[in-house]
Symmetry: C2
């Protein structure tokens, strides 16, 4: 890079059971330049957890105040607690030139897209529904009817694919990671992001 | 890939002296899946050259006939001979699922874009005009006034950057090659290219 480029927000999402967490962890082992977006929550801090590392911990009142003031890129309630993505942390990292990486459920990703359409949205797709079912079953914690529920939810989530910029199939974790890395690299070469800066440089060096 | 995807036409272009040929050669050493588009010419075959390898060799009449019938993606005349890119070879390769790679002058790239807008256009940019001047001078075959002419032409060509999809800076050949490879990989993950096929697969495997 010949100039300090603004960071890009990448959002990895896909149906539950597709392996988003596995791909994200494998990606972060290979690529240390991406910043993981730390979520905010109202659930109490557990032993061993750290503010700003595992979560940002806030009171319910503070969290609701942030919702009202549009300070979250997305949020959801789960078992009585809020979870969300604070906008300020993301924007600060981008301003400093760091790429931010969000790994998130489909509903959350669609909220982020509504609040931050300039993000790059990557849909992680299972190679087949058969395979997705196997992965859900192999977690071993679900009854047959729960598996069918989750599979039906997954089908609805797969229908949301059209809201995304890229589709990466998770047939093998290393392939998926390579494709995500290629997307990150190529997005930084997009003409609309860089042309005006390059033109400036090439005119400055003229004189 | 879970299905046979159509190939993509990639066009690498940029001002003369930027190092397009060097980047293309280094890329083809690393990536053997890309098909290089063989040009067509009216100049006579030279000893050691082969039809379909170095060029497709045609008579002036045949070439002009192809121009009239829009069978060339671009063409130019140089020292009394025609040079051009036959559309049929490119389309056949794409249909067979092969990516085609074209390395070409800016004027030719703009013609290709007019004739084949679904191509992916990559502008190879010099890190600075100073550097471009050095590269033109170091070829050693040009007088000072010719160097200035070529540099002025280059400035006009840099202004064409906005017609391209990506800008890759040729600060180091290996960096430029990595970026081009990332672009090739990520373009195959573009949602508009693959979503409908993935959806088909994921619905088929439902039953």
């Amino acid at each position: 890079m010949l100039f300090k480029q603004k960071g890009i927000l990448f959002v990895l999402s896909g149906p539950s059971g597709v392996g988003k967490g596995t791909v994200r962890k494998a990606l972060f082992k290979k690529d240390t330049s991406l910043k993981y977006s730390t979520s905010m929550t109202t659930r109490p801090m557990r032993p061993g957890e750290q503010e700003g590392v595992d979560y940002f911990y806030r009171s319910k009142e503070a969290f609701e105040h942030m919702i009202e003031n549009n300070q979250l890129l997305e949020h959801a309630e789960y078992v009585g607690n809020y979870y969300g993505t604070p906008r300020e942390y993301v924007e600060q990292q981008l301003e400093e030139g760091n790429d931010v990486f969000l790994e998130i459920e489909v509903q959350g990703a669609l909220q982020v897209k509504a609040n931050f359409p300039e993000g790059v949205f990557i849909f992680l797709s299972p190679p087949s529904l058969e395979e997705l079912k196997n992965r859900i079953v192999s977690r071993g914690t679900e009854t047959e009817s729960l598996v069918m529920n989750r599979l039906n939810a997954a089908k609805e989530e797969i229908d949301m694919m059209d809201a995304y910029d890229y589709v990466v199939v998770n047939d093998r974790v290393d392939h998926a990671v390579e494709n995500v890395q290629a997307i990150v690299k190529s997005e930084h070469c997009k003409r609309e992001r860089v042309a005006s800066e390059y033109k400036k440089i090439l005119e400055v060096s003229q004189s």
